[in-house]
């Protein structure tokens, strides 16, 4: 049987803008993936524990509040502690260009800003999923 890619789409932090997250979730579903959506206002701890239980291959973080440098990196740090480094982590939202290299170094493999084509995200996940 064909293995399905499982993705967790999560909204860390305090902003309430989840339109982008929902559009990405829907697009990944249409690409044949199983997408778990957490809803708003998640802590890094909640996201990582959910990722463990759901045994996802990918975590997609969406954040528009500007707190990405802290919260995205909290997630990758906690994943390491749980022996979950093989999970592909990607991020999206309003993220300044100059922050991207630091995020990538911290383990956010792909960063997708406003105007990204959906196919680009789907392709990136298909190509980079680690397990």
């Amino acid at each position: 049987m064909e293995r399905k890619i499982r993705v967790l789409i999560a909204k860390p932090g305090l902003d309430g803008h989840d339109r982008g997250a929902k559009i990405v979730a829907r697009a990944l579903r249409d690409a044949g993936m199983e997408v778990v959506y957490t809803g708003l206002h998640q802590t890094a701890d909640m996201i990582v524990k959910t990722a463990v239980q759901e045994d996802v291959d990918v975590i997609g973080l969406s954040l528009l509040s500007g707190a990405h440098m802290t919260l995205f990196m909290d997630v990758t740090r906690l994943l390491k502690g749980k022996d979950m480094e093989d999970v592909l982590v990607v991020g999206g939202g309003v993220i300044p260009e100059e922050d991207i290299p630091t995020l990538k170094k911290a383990g956010i493999a792909g960063v997708f800003g406003p105007g990204t084509h959906i196919e680009e995200i789907v392709d990136f996940i298909r190509k980079n999923v680690k397990r």
Binding site: E34, V35, D55
Partner: protein, 313 residues
Amino acid sequence: MNDIASRILKGDPRSVARLITLAENNSLEATDAMKDIHFHTGDAHVIGITGVMGSGKSTLICELTREYRKQGLEVGIIAIDPTSPFSGGALLGDRIRMMEFATDNGVFIRSMGTRGMLGGLTTAVYDVVEILDAAGKDIVIVETVGVGQAEIDVIKIADTTIVVLVPGLGDSIQTIKAGVMEIADIYVVNKADRSGVEQTVAEVESLVDIACTNKDRKTPVLTTISKESKGVAELIDEIDKHKKYLKKSKMFEVQRRKRYEAELVEIIRKRLMNFIFDESKFKVKIETLIDQISNKELDPYTAADEILGKILR
């Protein structure tokens, strides 16, 4: 004992999650662990929750879980949402209503797609119930997809089946139809702050009066407003009473035997289907037969006999 199995018996969430994935993907790697854990299962009370989409199943499960956690019980939740028949993908959103337990180590939630199953469940659900049971969950809650009228497979796996209704879904004729309205051990009319609740309760109660042939136990009809936590304590109480009734009347053993029968049939079905459809030598043969049927050179029954003949020989 198998490595992953022994970690599951210690309750390790990572191993529980891993084995669920393997079982769901029909992987042979799952088999050894599944064999081992079976002998450590049977203690969890399995609650099936079914009802139409939007009736409040996920929110009600959140309320039940909060109460069970107050009692110090551990809870496993299997939340099933539909898989798209077109893309094979699924959007699993039941967890949104349960995020308050995200960091509670006594609660394990797994979202699953139906992956082609039609009865409201998912193919691996028997495995997942066993895994959560073996991991020490006292209560395992199975949330079906939002059902219509005929998706009743949940009764094969649940010790206690709860059908969640909401006011205003139709007139009294809806309640005397066959299917979902026959399977409840407990009816819950949720969203009881809406208008029409008295009528819905009265209709379901009259259905119970006509249809319930069990002299020892009348199917209760409860009302809840899950977003306000109203009626939840009463529901927990009825679940406990039903559990005691099952044990006392020996129905517990009868139902469990049916569950294992369904599980065995499912394993055989899966293995047989895999054997026929995933085996490459049959693949070519099947494609040829489909061509022949399409071209009216062969009928589908003869074609089926031809495939089955190759296996049974």
